[in-house]
Amino acid sequence: MTPLQPASSSETMAQPGSATSPLPPDGPFGSSATSPSDQGRSGDAPAEVEAPNGLVVEMRDVSKSFGRVPALSNLTILVPDGRITVLLGPNGAGKTTAIRVITGALTPDRGHVRTFGFDPDRFGEDVRRRCGVVSAKPALYDRLSGWDNLQYSAELYGLGRNATAPIREAAGRFGILEALDQQVGGYSTGMKTRLALSRAVLHNPDLLLFDEPTSGLDPESSHAVLDLIREMTDEGRTVVMCTHLLVEAEGLADQIIVLENGTDLIHGTQQNLTRQYWPHDIVRLDAEDPNELDQIEGMDGVISIRREDDHTEVQLDDLARVPDLVAALTAAGVRLTRVDPHNPSLEDLYFAIRRERRAPDAGPGLGAFPEVTR
């Protein structure tokens, strides 16, 4: 084992928990610990050690520009071990650049980056050997067979020229074994994605980075790919997945980080974020005459109401009040056409976050859910 080098002195290191960092000093899931690079050991290559703080990736206040175009702007991403972290954001939000910085494929202009506790810019080879990446384009060699594509990866990742067993295992896992003799140029989009996934897990990486892995896939194939990603975390791997498809992240993410213009707007579990934006239970109501629903204001347990195009959204202090509410409205002669206790989806959350950011003075929740009454 070769000892470690201290962190690069040229980088700007944000202090955990400082005003510039939106995250707590210990990260979202772990406690503070000394990172290997801070331990004063010296050498040329990192030893295989567990990530500090239970964090596999630690990016703090990272900025990166291409010419005059900023790609990342004070981005902070903390990825806990063994979880699925979803980077959510529109095209151009900086998701792909973030992945490239994590593996050391790109060097940030400033900020603090550690992957497995090591500076990927300095120990890139060792960091990348422990990462498996599936990029938005499958990045396969069309003129080679599926087998040759996997063999190439096996050799670059140090599995040697006789990697038959891991190749067969990885390909078999993603159901592409039978097609390995064919030229990849003849593969369907789904087959290419499966081959790219096989290649990403071939060397048994600790960290999997998926950049829009279901891009171009039909719904059935997308579902299968997401199931496979879920399976991989069951085996203890850490997954970072970029997507702009909210439905993909729904139910899959242990942690969501919403990105926009190269910066992280917010992070947390879907449940926590939902509670942050909708601290109360919600029921959606509609009636033959929607105006009659205005009389909800002032009823017991009603916190706020908001009129939408096709329904009225009511925040209650407790969903158990719904029967009383319905009874009261019915008694008042309101003919209800819809009573729908609503769990906000990730899509609701995402747009609420973005609405709030466009109206930052509104504060959490208010921009997303302007209260009519209280």
Partner: protein, 277 residues
């Protein structure tokens, strides 16, 4: 530097070339045309038409050659045989330069920018392979097709020349020592120089088409220089020492360009996001 990974990159690039009929069919045709078809037709015609007036005139023009070159021509042979001999030994030297440079620069120019265009640069950028390993692997993979074509073509050319001209020139005479030096000592560094420059271009430009155009601009003068140098070395009074010296200078330049060229490839360039401004 992990040489195993460098060889892996090289092998994979060569495997892709081997899978591409659209590459190796024209490459084989080019080699066949320059090394076999054109020389065979020229030598057969000149050798068979004998001492007609025009051949006599060409034969007299051979007196313009340096004395050392004239001395090497079999004096007792017919005029047609003398012309064939000079043609085979001296005037077809450019084919040994044009063919490998054309083929290797064609391969090299798309080598790095091609990875970027196909999106496979992303795979390489995220892999543990170092950029020097990738650069060298690609350089060798670009060099081999051109040089291999030359070696095979040179072998076939030698057999053909000896079969057509040899019987009248007093036996098998080709390759001459100068040709051995040209092929084994002078040509490789010129290929290295060309490829170092072409791969540097390939790392920087935005498309394969742009790389090929720019590569043409670089390699054309290089072909002229290589041609001038190689024929000069073959004709020169001290052909062998001159070839050795010229090769040594070319090697020094080639290695220098190779080392500086390795710095031109970065992961950002593999990804196509380098700040070129």
């Amino acid at each position: 530097m992990n040489y195993q990974r460098m060889l892996t990159v090289m092998r994979t690039d060569l495997k892709q070339l081997a899978q591409s009929k659209d590459f190796w069919v024209p490459m084989s045709l080019l080699g066949g045309l320059f090394f076999i078809v054109i020389p065979a037709i020229l030598l057969s015609v000149i050798n068979s038409i004998g001492n007609i007036g025009s051949v006599q005139q060409v034969s007299q023009a051979l007196q313009l050659l340096p004395q050392s070159a004239q001395d090497a021509v079999p004096q007792a042979a017919a005029a047609g045989t003398k012309v064939s001999y000079v043609l085979a030994v001296y005037l077809l030297a450019p084919i040994a330069v044009i063919v490998p440079l054309t083929i290797s620069t064609a391969v090299g120019s798309s080598s790095i920018v091609g990875e970027r265009e196909r999106g496979t640069g992303e795979f390489l950028a995220h892999s543990p392979a170092g950029v020097k390993e990738i650069y060298l692997g690609k350089l060798i993979a670009s060099l081999i097709p051109g040089y291999l074509t030359t070696i095979v073509g040179f072998g076939l050319y030698s057999i053909m020349v000896n079969l057509i001209v040899g019987p009248d020139a007093g036996g098998w005479f080709f390759p001459t020592p100068s040709w051995w030096l040209l092929i084994l000592w002078v040509l490789p560094p010129f290929l290295l120089i060309a490829l170092s420059m072409v791969l540097r271009l390939s790392a920087r430009v935005k498309s394969t088409a742009a790389a090929q155009q720019a590569a043409g601009l670089i390699t054309f003068p290089l072909i002229l220089i290589a041609y001038a140098q190689s024929t000069g070395a073959l004709f020169g009074g001290a052909a062998v020492p001159l070839s050795i010296l010229m090769g040594a200078v070319a090697w020094a330049i080639g290695i220098g360009l190779l080392i500086s060229g390795m710095r031109s490839l970065t992961r950002a360039r593999l990804l196509g996001v380098a700040n070129e401004a």
